[in-house]
């Protein structure tokens, strides 16, 4: 594996057994949560994973964390195959991949002080057993997460902090283990607009100062656009478009990406555009359509789409799209 890569995911699949819907149902239905995801992440890169609910974004994160066992495919993390790790090896790996969760109002235990919360991962992983060292490490993590000086915060409880500060504590809990990869699942969607930029800038700083790679899971491409180097758009368990943020936003190729971009509200009334509103049933991961999985909702469908399943194809440079359409409207090629 290329030395610049921190993560390489190949043809990753995760199928869940569907719950029985009634007493006579056979219960052999499957949910195709991830249906062949391939992805590479460079060291120090921030990648956005965008898509609607149910497209598999969070399943991908859980699978990368080894919290779900993939059905097939492989995950290479920092040169090591971690697809089926167990026991100690798995724990070692998890230390280096940490998650930042969505809702800092729910994810912090209200009866633990900030010190205890941030120290807990160290206890779980039996690191820095000396109390003095542990204290130093906790303080360092808090300051790295922008809670400076740590003295002000370390003895407080979550309810004494604002939403932005709480989210910084969540980030500190991840940083205390010195991870090289952060999986941030909608890290700002629960925060007020006026403080979102704080957390986004914090993630950007961590990348710059510590070279931490980030997978930024979001349904909001406008937020993603701000700090991410590349965007991967997911639809029904698969990546349908992948490219640099600038390229994907300026020249989206896949009709799904185009629609998704067109409905993102722009905070300027002078930029009101025609929204491409997708009709048809919302995607159901139990029944993947034949051919292109997007074809039942696609405004640009033609015959081939119903039969052949498109894989990611190169549009230009690193820009890839899983769509049979020719390189449409891409004049600057």
């Amino acid at each position: 594996m290329n030395n610049d890569l921190i993560l390489k995911v190949e043809d990753l699949k995760k199928y869940f057994q569907a719950e029985k819907t009634g007493i006579w149902s056979s219960g052999d239905k499957q949910v195709f949560a991830l249906d062949g995801v391939s992805l590479e992440l460079k060291k120090g890169e921030i990648l956005a994973l965008a898509g609607e609910s149910g497209c598999g974004k969070s399943t991908l994160a859980l699978t990368l964390m080894n919290l779900e066992k993939p059905t097939s495919g492989s995950i290479i993390f920092d040169g090591m195959d971690i697809t089926n790790l167990q026991g100690d090896a798995q724990k070692q790996m998890r230390r280096r991949v940490q998650m930042v969760f969505q809702d800092p109002y729910e994810s912090l235990n209200p009866i633990m002080s900030i010190r205890d919360l941030v120290a807990e991962p160290l206890i779980v992983h039996k690191l820095f057993l000396d109390p003095q060292e542990r204290e130093t490490r906790v303080r360092q993590a808090l300051e790295d997460a922008g809670l400076k000086p740590a003295d002000v915060y370390i003895n407080r409880y979550p309810h004494e902090l604002s939403g932005g500060q709480r989210q910084r504590v969540v980030v500190a809990c991840a940083l205390v283990l010195n991870p090289v990869l952060l999986l941030a699942d909608e890290p700002v969607s629960m925060l007020d607009v006026s403080i979102r930029a704080e957390i986004l800038n914090l993630l950007a700083d961590l990348r710059r100062e510590k070279g931490i790679s980030v997978i930024f899971i979001t349904h909001d491409m406008a937020t993603a656009a701000n700090i991410c180097d590349r965007i991967a758009v997911m639809y029904l368990g698969r990546i349908v478009e992948l490219g640099s943020t600038k390229e994907v936003l300026a020249h989206p190729h896949h009709p799904y990406t185009k629609a998704l971009i067109s409905v993102i509200p722009i905070p300027n009334p002078r930029h009101r555009r025609k929204r491409i509103i997708l009709q048809g049933a919302p995607p159901n991961a139990m029944e993947i359509p034949t051919g292109c999985r997007f074809h039942p909702r696609c405004p640009a469908i033609f015959e081939r789409c119903q039969v052949d399943d498109p894989a990611l194809m190169t549009i230009r440079g690193n820009h890839q799209s899983a769509c049979w359409l020719k390189n449409n409207g891409h004049s600057k090629a």
């Binding site: 007020d192 607009v193 006026s194 930029a197 986004l200 600038k246 409905v263 509200p265």
Partner: protein, 329 residues
Amino acid sequence: MSSPKNPPALLEVRNLSVEFMPNKNTHLKAVQDVSFSLHEGELLGLVGESGCGKTTMMLSLLRLLPEAGRITGGKILYRNQDLLDLEESQMSDYRWKEIAIIFQGAMNALNPVRTVHDQIAEAITCHELKTPKEKLDTRVNDLLEMVGIPASRGSQYPFQFSGGMRQRVMIAMALACSPSIVIADEPTTALDVMIQAQILELLQELSRQLGLAVILVTHDLGVVAEICDHVLVMYAGVTAEYGDVDTIYNHPVHPYTQNLIKAFPNLANPLDSLISIPGYPPRLDALPAGCRFEPRCLKAFDRCKIDQPPVYELKDRHQASCFLVEGQK
């Protein structure tokens, strides 16, 4: 907007103030001196951070405040009738029939064991007693079609509907008694962007077709810019700024509005760096002595610490509460 040709406002709120009294000695000024107007077919966006008084103000309009809340001043003129002068029994002629409300998260409050049709019918019979069965059924079917749900799905239960569809049911319920104003409190907050776009399109369409006035309560500046005509920006219970969308987004005068817009990611200029507004809104029991935004304001000067700025009327329904605009017209 203020030309004499225009009909009088449907709703005019003047200097509304609301207090909460959790106990005898505590007076929390949740809303102070807020004024705005709403015309037929107009979409007003009400934006602000959590806890800025958006929901309190909406509840006051229908006099639905919780027990500890009290309207302490101002007027709520609906077609020139001050709703605050009415007896409680008269208020029910206005609730739902004239002003309906889609509560935040209400789509999750549908009764799981009754059909959607029944629940919409109930909204009608609650207010218009003795509606004949056939008339009722036709009306419910019309309402369902109006919000884009096939009438045949009326016999289904809420669990058979997706989040977006349930929100459509809520909108149908709000329209049940043909109100002139619908207040939608965070109607798209829990929904995906694509579903959000569908719901916004629906609200816009209804406003156009029925001449419905909509107050859209949200924290999402993008949504407001997309569909609203006017915007009221609230901060800690006071009007920060009020005006038409173009003024608010392109020529904001209040430092809070200016920063809030820069804090919101804009896909049209994705690489603009976002700013954050340091600090957080004051608690209602510890309001600053002067301007409520002063502790977070980069343009604050001495006077801001001492005096609370009044709401200055600028031209064309534009208001701002900042000393920086004093004397401007």
